[in-house]
Symmetry: D2
Subunit: 397 residues, 4 copies
């Protein structure tokens, strides 16, 4: 099967949730005898090929404003910014972040099967419970409580495919339909950069036909997609090949939890990921920017690794916003290196040095001085270097 | 410079903290003019080569009992277990986990410079504060509060090198000396598997001479070292080459926190990591085993990915303990794939399929049935499949 | 710049020379000031992307009959055969060679600049001299003199672009225009499989504008393209980016020979070649099939390596023709491993084992017995196992 | 099994043939029941680990004088030269070729089983026939007839293990014992750089016990070992693991030739080859330096690729002797890219750019000017740039 996607483009004054995740699908999958996939099967989806739409070879990476969803580093980068990328075949480059060029690890940010009513109900219930817990839900973690905890179902801006607007059915569906921001048991918006050319995904099937949907095409993304709208978002095509492993959920998966519905997809990585040999790696521990010790918190550790990388690369002529955008979308790898040595988790962020046209490794003489600025005048001012913002999200206070 | 290590071996009735981390060092580093490394410099350490001690080509991987330190999955695996590994040149294999064989990504679990008094004081203070916060410090995270929060300085079992035991000096030092369990600003016990042949590490220097120490040699480790004593621990040698970047901390690093001492090492990956082309990848989200929703918690997500992998591989003839041990020490990769899609963090665990002598990818007919047991009778009983243990660590209650 | 190619398809009763090498071009290249490339410059061509034409995702691999051009192993495979390949995104598979599937290393078999009159004259002269030497020209080498020595210019079947047929100009050009079978100083039909996505080629410029031409798109090819029409020939598109290094020939190249025109292109390999970790490698020495010793003859050694691989893989259920076709077009690597140890050159052929759906490595029990035949009835009979054919090409006798 | 080698070191005034190939062995191999390997079996040898002898971490690369064996480019480099390499763990560097450093792909240049009397007789007979053919044997190939055609058995300098010197037995054996310069059916001195850590070789067994021998340890080598003594020759250790596939020759190999003894080993590449991502590649065609056209001659094509690389890199501050030595021993790859496009074979030489501390890729401004000389005064004068030497080897005239 082969599909074409054309997600909407960057529109300044509308929110992410209702605009970016236009999906293609759902697709009912049957075997060669016409028998549909059934609950308990595994749906095998091979991503045979994918790429930008011909004639539309460009994309964007965005930082969202704190009031519009924010991102992993919203505490440090509260304002919106963006970079536009131009594709030269397999390569991306941007006038907004000059001096870098890299091959894309193209993938769908979102791909997954449809939930059953029971599973949908579990989702809505547990996410609602999280929102109700409120600030406490964030615990001691990496975040200053400035982002939404979850996006619960709401008719506002809901996109419901062929269901006619204004009908009672529309209203009923809209008030329960899960927002497609997070990845869940069905796959969904996992934003896993390795679901690229030649990868093969094994999805659990929850309803007859599997009802596979997909979208959110990315030309490239770094592990974590830290700026939230942080991949290189683009219009793209996707060629898939599907088959079914009958009874595969029982054969291979082990549901957890009281309802025995909590499972996750499995996948194999494809053979065409870009090859890099040299990596510069930044470490981070679970001690936050204020010096506070957290307990084996991998998110805090990764946040610190990313901040360390931003600080480092900003000495080579980039603004911190540029690096934040870059680390969101270049093929960097985020690793949980140590997760047992109490009290410090250790996360690492590995950046392929070959994407820069200068040598960014540490040298005896330091980085080029005075730092030549690679940025443009129209990039929003960076408030990163000032005191940490302390305002909480009003929705959470 | 070239050093030889011979850390102590597995001894059943003594605790990890006092026995495994015998270190080599500290080594005072000077430049070719005899000028020592100074605070503010970067110490460049290239790991030229390393390996097991000739004639001592074996190692072990251990699960610690919940009362003896536990590990990442102590909630599920509360009892101690172990596997012994035999090395055939670059390869490791074990009679305790038959059917797997893999090349080692040999590295020192611990390597780092010495802290200044000021930095040491910060460490002790923030970790003490964590212990005092107690159970609350764990927040909503992945752990059932059954592991120590931190190991504070104590004269009990302290190893203080050449300081004479029983003296007042010994007492004074012992009551402040940081335990070497966690990685910290100086590097230390980060357990980063990629610090292998040919890698180059840039350490911050806090005191004159840098005082580089190292130990905890690993023949192999998976990202996270999930079983805690989870690498293949061995006796080994290490060949290093050092140089100094004068003023390198100012040139390249950006200290955080009020004291401006919070920095982390940077490193480059070496050119001799084992090459694998096929990876089977398990996903995990920040929804825990009980079905509870956590907020962008990467540790919970990684825990779920590891549990998913354990469940899956246990269908191929292994006990869950065997897989837990294997995923602790084989060259698997733990990634933070998505960290922004509220409320779910998405972590992935990628396992190279080539380490198995059977094909462990999903197939139409399911795994071999009935599962042939690859384990031995003397492996402690698995309580994994029962109800989750709920007993808290008395030290924490 | 972006170009689309649509070379003609396999037509049984016409010769290769006039049908396959329809080219696109020539393209006159200028810099951004409109100044054309000039003799002595280097033309830098980056292959930004390339692939099959949408809607036309198939290709073929052919063995030519001895009387129609033959191939590297014509002495053993004198008759024509072929395989049709179907593309599933990045993968190729064939009903004619079941049980294999591999990602394509797509490349143009032919790409190059135009020769000057002087260089063209050198080509024609040296190739004519070779033909006149006749059988002696083959020396002691790998070949039984059954293939053409060279294809000299001839009006018969010449394709001359926009020059009007039947004119005097057409006649004059046709009698001197070089046939595009071999690679030459300008690049041309080098059939280098690594000129794939993201590679960058530095071509010498011999005439104003460089006049870049290209064609012969391959979905995949093994080193050597041993069956002659041995890549997966297809219709395809090609996206290029050109720039000019002024005076680059003098800066970087060193012409050889009396005329100082003998140079060769240089290239950089791109970052998206398929990743394989396991290779089965066959050796060959410069002792031919009859047991005769040749002197450091790398072609004889490579021929023996390929024959060894064909014999080996034919024990796994394939006919020898199938393997010959497969090794012509799968991403196998042909190496000159040793070229100094008199009298034996040593060549190796490395085959990625992951392209097979069975394990083709040697095992204790031997290959599956009795060999299950993976071939179809319509494949021409193999005369490989009989006595070596001794008939010489009449054109050479 | 584990063996230690200590081949003799570079001694100026003695010839290669009698001094470098001190071997370890022969080793009689049995199975676990004490049954020896038998003719017709395959001996499986896994190279578990290997490296330089501790305390002896250095090696050398030599160009031999034309009168002392010469090398692939003796026609251009008739005089002896050398470079000494110092090992820093996995890396080699040389004061004679500054500005380069690379990880070693350590391997035994020579490893193989013993021939039967019948096979030995075939060797001696076919090589003697070659010498008797004399200059004609070289055909139209790459060489100006200045090297020995073959080294036939001679008592002079023979090394015969434990056979007592001066006895009749010694005399009888010495006059028939094959010199170990070339690789042959038994493996032997194939100088295949990929027989490194973790590779697995399948050797044919010709006599009871297999009698495995090995030696000629190389820290690193480029494909072809072009300078003849062109690897980094060193003292080293080798750890092997052997097993037997009974009847494996019949199961997997297909002997050629009238005597049905002409077979070759097969091998699998190990998982620890150094990783490089960027390659600069030089092409060569079968047109020699004088402009003469050869027919599909891969040795001529490879010679031209190597000469092109030498010329190119000599523009970056190196003498041509330095580059010749470097390309003999660095991990470069020699490919037979095209072998069917009459009349031109196309060979390529791929050099990993990461081994240089300068960027050697073509740039707009050309290489650094004036070229800074990276060589030392004691390197023998280069006569490469003068007219080609035409003197023939007197032994051949």
């Amino acid at each position: 099967m082969s599909f074409l996607f054309r997600p909407l483009r960057w529109i300044d004054d509308v929110s992410f949730a209702t605009q970016v995740h236009h999906l293609s699908g759902p697709i009912r999958v049957t075997d060669s005898n016409g028998e549909p996939a059934k609950p308990g099967d595994l749906l095998v989806v091979e991503i045979c090929n994918l790429g930008p739409l011909p004639g539309d070879e460009w994309g964007f990476t965005g930082i969202f404003d704190r009031e519009n969803g924010g991102g992993f580093l919203t505490d440090h980068f509260p304002c919106a910014s963006k970079a536009i990328w131009h594709f030269e075949g397999i390569f991306a480059q941007s006038r907004h972040i000059p001096g870098v060029r890299f091959p894309g690890l193209i993938h769908p940010g979102l791909i997954g099967t449809a939930p059953s009513n029971e599973l949908l109900s579990i989702w809505n219930s547990r996410e609602k419970e999280l929102v109700e817990r409120g600030v406490d839900a964030v615990g001691t973690a990496a975040f200053l409580h400035t982002r939404p905890l979850a996006l619960l179902p709401t008719p506002e801006g809901a996109l419901l495919g062929k269901i006619e607007g204004g009908t009672q059915l529309w209203e009923e569906v809209a008030k329960d339909a899960a927002r497609t921001i997070p990845g869940r048991e069905n796959g969904g918006n996992c934003d896993i950069k390795n679901l690229s050319r030649g990868s093969k995904v094994y999805f659990p099937v929850f309803i007859e036909g599997a009802n596979l949907s997909m979208g959110d095409m990315h030309f490239s993304q770094g592990d974590g997609e830290v700026a939230f709208c942080g991949a290189i978002e683009m219009s793209g095509f996707l060629e898939l090949k599907c088959s079914i492993i009958r009874g595969g959920m029982e054969k291979y998966l082990t549901p957890m939890g009281p309802t025995k519905l909590h499972v996750n997809p499995i996948f194999e990585i494809g053979p065409l990921e870009p090859r890099f040999s040299d990596w510069l790696v930044f470490e981070g521990l679970s001690v936050d920017e204020s010096g506070k010790q957290h307990y084996l918190d991998a998110a805090v550790a990764y946040k610190r690794a990313v901040l360390n990388a931003i600080d480092y690369l900003s000495k080579f002529g980039y603004t911190k916003e540029q690096v934040y955008l870059l680390l969101s979308c270049c093929p960097c790898e985020g690793r949980i290196s140590g997760i047992v040595d109490v009290p410090n988790a250790c996360a690492t962020l590995a950046i392929p040095t070959g994407i820069f046209d200068q040598d960014v490794r540490p040298k005896r003489d330091g980085p080029p001085r005075p730092p030549y600025l690679l940025s443009y005048g129209d990039v929003p001012k960076c408030i990163y270097d000032g005191p940490l913002p302390t305002t909480k999200n009003p929705a959470l206070s």
